[in-house]
């Protein structure tokens, strides 16, 4: 260790220092540890694990009869992930720490290659996440296109049935993995420290680690296809899971790896929001987006361990031969259903809450009105997060659980629509007598309300047990959750991307292309998924490659709309590439006229975010309020200043009175 002592201000809690000056690598960009070495070691790890697995378990009779060695595949995937992490340099510090070493300062070059390295700078990690979730999204989208292609005809015609369910499962899994990090990953990591007035994340290495696990998960889940796919869909129901071929191992390992990444990402964000708020950033002043990320992070950190454990049980069943999910051996097929959905339902809100936060940020800006009922919004998000732990058995209504549990879970499920309704109260209240500017982000925000309303109301149908007898597991449910996840979260995400892109990159997205993207996406999203409610009611179960002849018209309509929906994403890609890389247009400092703290900093945001740690004077929603205090003092002479003005949110300026 030849490093100088970093000033204590940059010392992390567990010694996670991040000296902003730090050390610069003099090596050329292609040397050192980066994605390339990660891939190399990842492949090496895969090969080693495969070899080890064959050595250990190759002789077992069942491996011979099945013609497949699950032990080898699991070990290969796990060691592949370890190799990837070691290759990108994620393990350097954790290992050095064993020898008591202090953190090695990170290369903080602003060279573009930083996006391919293990960077602990939250804005770099945010951009890495942004690209990664888009890759995930488009991969899942292409798979969706092939699903819709197969469903053009009521019988099997282009894709074989085995390939078809592999694609269905792959689509679901990739999309779920993507959606659980869609907002938290890019926007959460990038914006949250700036929004709460912090110079850093609580655990920058944990944050970076979560990203590299996330990206490793992408490769792991992709290996499922060449390994023969998995037949279970994203829900991975056992004992079909136990029965499946080695592609299933990719699912189990992939979900564990992604799950670990989700836990770490949520862990870091939660600790950061709780502890790194700037002076004066009281709980009643943090942006509503931070509230949503707070609630989401809590769900990520607490619900996902259950998934990891359930996946571990599945791996043990398939490799060591335990019988967690095998009834005939003292296990239970319900065990997976319970554990999975105990994670799975909070997961659903992991994929909804950040969207609420984003639209909550954008509505005041584009209506020039304060956010209506801020406390209700916060309460709604926390309420949804809490309740989401008590609803999971509604996925098991028709599975033969104890019948008297069903009214109870019907109640909890329907209760959750009350805090969800708060979000609508906030939105509608903010629109009241507003001055709505139809910028691209605002269009997405309004569309999110439009879509999520349909998704939410149909959720009440699904939660009602007698109706659920008909719609459970049908295309109705499929349409329902696409309306909430895609109609809600993905729309909000794209709104957020258009909204914050000037901050993230300093470039404006093209407005015309943005509007074309929005209208195509909005119209064809609804044309794709609304018919699915009818298709489901008319008796088409999910994940089938054959359906009733009479449903072909509706399915074809839906398919063609889906292709157009797919094309709308191409418009986004063209817009993205054009506006950021080809013909960049410098963005104004605060193009939307937002009061949010993140818009008060420079663009590009300096590496340490703030020259001085700001003193926050009020919440960022004082629109159309002459004489309101500025949101923060960016150059405070002393932190005591806020105590005089805003301690406890009590001062006249803080209350927004003239």
């Amino acid at each position: 260790m030849t490093l100088d002592v970093a000033p204590p201000s940059q010392m992390g809690s567990t010694g996670d220092t991040l000296p902003p000056g730090g050390v610069v690598h003099r090596r050329p960009w292609w040397m050192g540890q980066h994605m390339g070495t990660g891939l190399l070691l990842g492949i090496g790890g895969y090969a080693l694990g495969h070899y080890l697995g064959n050595t250990i378990a190759g002789g077992y009779t069942h491996v011979g009869t099945a013609g497949e060695n699950d032990v080898a595949i699991v070990l290969a995937l796990l060691l592949g992930v370890v190799g990837w992490l070691a290759g990108v340099g994620a393990l350097n510090y954790p290992l050095a720490k064993l020898a008591g070493r202090e953190p090695v300062a990170q290369p903080d070059t602003q060279h573009w290659t930083r996006f391919f390295r293990f960077s602990v700078e939250h804005k770099t990690v945010g951009m890495q996440y942004l690209i990664a979730v888009l890759v995930f999204l488009f991969t899942g989208g292409l798979l969706a296109m092939s699903i819709r292609t197969e469903l053009l005809s009521p019988t099997s015609h282009i894709i074989g049935p085995g390939t078809y369910i592999s694609i269905v499962g792959e689509h679901g899994t990739v999309m779920m993995m993507m959606a659980s990090s869609l907002v938290v990953g890019p926007l959460g990591n990038w914006l949250i420290p700036i929004m709460i007035g912090s110079r850093r994340m609580a655990f920058p290495r944990v944050e970076a680690f979560s990203f590299w696990l996330f990206s490793a998960g992408y490769f792991v889940i992709l290996t499922a296809l060449p390994l023969g796919g998995f037949p279970t869909g994203w829900t991975g129901y056992a004992p079909l899971q136990t029965q499946a071929t080695v592609g299933m191992d990719s699912y189990l390992v992939g979900f564990s790896v992604i799950g670990l990444g989700m836990i770490l990402a949520g862990f870091n964000l939660l600790v950061t929001i709780i502890n790194y708020r700037a002076p004066g950033m009281t709980w009643s002043r943090i942006p509503v987006f931070a509230w949503s990320i707070l609630a989401t992070s809590a769900l990520l950190a607490l619900a996902t361990p259950t998934l990891a454990v359930a996946c571990m049980f599945g791996i043990l069943d398939r490799t060591v031969g335990t019988a967690f999910y095998v009834n005939a051996h003292g296990g239970s097929s319900y065990l997976w259903e319970n554990l999975f959905w105990f994670f799975g339902h909070p997961e659903v809100y992991i994929m909804a809450l950040p969207g609420f936060g984003i639209v909550g940020e954008m509505l005041p800006v584009f209506t020039r009105k304060p956010l209506f009922a801020y406390r209700v919004a916060a309460a709604g998000m926390i309420g949804v997060a809490l309740l989401s732990f008590f609803v999971w058995q509604h996925h098991l209504f028709q599975s033969g659980i104890n019948p008297d549990m069903r009214p109870l879970f019907m109640l909890t499920t329907e209760l959750i629509s009350i805090p969800t309704g708060f979000i609508f109260l906030v939105g509608l209240g903010t629109l009241y007598k507003a001055k709505i500017r139809f910028e691209v982000p605002m269009l997405f925000a309004l569309a999110m309300y439009f879509n999520f309303l349909i998704g939410g109301v149909t959720g009440v149908f699904v939660s009602d047990v007698p109706v659920d007898v008909t719609v459970h597991g049908s295309f109705f449910v499929l349409a329902h959750f696409h309306y909430t996840i895609m109609g809600g979260l993905v729309f909000a995400f794209f709104g957020g991307v258009y909204y914050w892109m000037p901050k993230l990159t300093g470039k404006m997205m093209n407005k015309t292309l943005g509007k074309v993207h929005f209208w195509m996406m909005f119209v064809f999203f609804n044309l794709t998924f609304f018919p699915m409610f009818l298709i489901g009611l008319l008796g088409q179960p999910r994940r089938v490659f054959e359906y009733a002849q009479g449903l072909q018209t509706l399915n074809d309509f839906s398919s063609v709309s889906a292709f157009c929906l797919g094309a709308s994403f191409l418009v986004f890609v063209v817009n993205f590439v054009w506006s950021i890389f080809i013909a960049p247009q410098e963005a104004p400092l605060n193009p939307w006229g937002s009061l949010g703290l993140e818009w008060q900093t420079a663009t590009p945001v300096p590496q340490h975010n703030f020259e001085r740690i700001p003193v926050v004077l009020t919440d960022p929603y004082h629109y159309s309020e002459p004489g309101a205090s500025p949101v923060a003092d960016l150059a405070p002479t002393s932190f005591a200043e806020f105590a005089a003005v805003g301690a406890g949110g009590g001062g006249p300026i803080a209350r927004g009175e003239p």
């Binding site: 030849t2 003099r26 361990p305 259950t306 454990v309 069943d317 051996h329 003292g330």
Partner: protein, 219 residues
């Protein structure tokens, strides 16, 4: 080394107020994080406990625990005992550290790590030499699940304790000086870190005893 030092030129100098603010934030973050980490592990072990009680009450085909199979009680008790011993030792070490008896902290800490490693080794050994097949019943499955999770938990706990002790070995006495900061590690933070680690070990011991009871004693 191809690294060179450059001055912290990114353009800001922290004021003493900011330093104090960030130090306090770091301390609070450590406190929150250690408790949250226990929360994450608690949910994981809750899933295991759920599997245990669910399969036990479902008792499919009367195969929860055929012939009352039991994992080796001696080994299991030893694993639990070593885990508990490590916790007690760390607790003692923390107390001595608070009294600035660093030598006692070092000795207790390293013995605790050793004890944890023994528990870990025994747990691995027990897993490779079970008197039943994994698929014998629900009990055997959940037991193997527990053994794997216990290994993961012990590794986490030992890693944390070891890194603290290793850092302490590098930093020597300086950390005990009240308010002193050597190489950027304020002693307050270090003590809080040890404190959190011990807290986590308390959780490990609780889980170890809980599952020891249900797997070996009250099954």
């Amino acid at each position: 080394m191809s690294q060179v030092r450059v001055p912290a030129d990114s353009g800001y100098v922290a004021t003493p107020e900011e330093l104090a603010y960030e130090a306090r934030a770091a301390e609070n973050a450590l406190f929150t994080a250690s408790r949250l980490m226990i929360g994450c592990f608690a949910f994981a072990f809750a899933a295991l406990a759920f599997a245990y009680f669910y399969l036990r009450s479902a008792n499919s085909y009367d195969l929860w625990r055929p012939h009352s199979v039991t994992a080796p009680v001696g080994t299991g008790t030893a694993v639990m005992a070593f885990t508990a011993a490590a916790t007690v030792l760390l607790l003692f070490g923390l107390r001595q550290l608070r009294r600035k008896d660093v030598l006692a902290f070092d000795v207790a800490g390293w013995v605790a790590v050793l004890s944890g490693l023994l528990a870990l080794g025994l747990q691995c050994w027990e897993l490779t030499d079970l008197p039943f097949a994994p698929a014998t019943g629900g009990y055997t499955s959940v037991f193997i699940g527990w053994a794997v999770m216990n290994i993961i938990m012990l590794v986490s706990g030992i890693y944390w304790a070891e890194t603290l002790l290793a850092r302490r070995a590098r930093l020597r006495k300086a950390i005990t000086e009240e308010g002193g900061a050597v190489r950027g590690v304020p002693s307050g933070i270090f003590r809080l870190n040890v404190d959190s680690c011990v807290y986590f070990w308390g959780f490990i011991a609780f889980v170890a005893v809980f599952f020891w009871i249900f797997f070996y004693i009250a099954g």
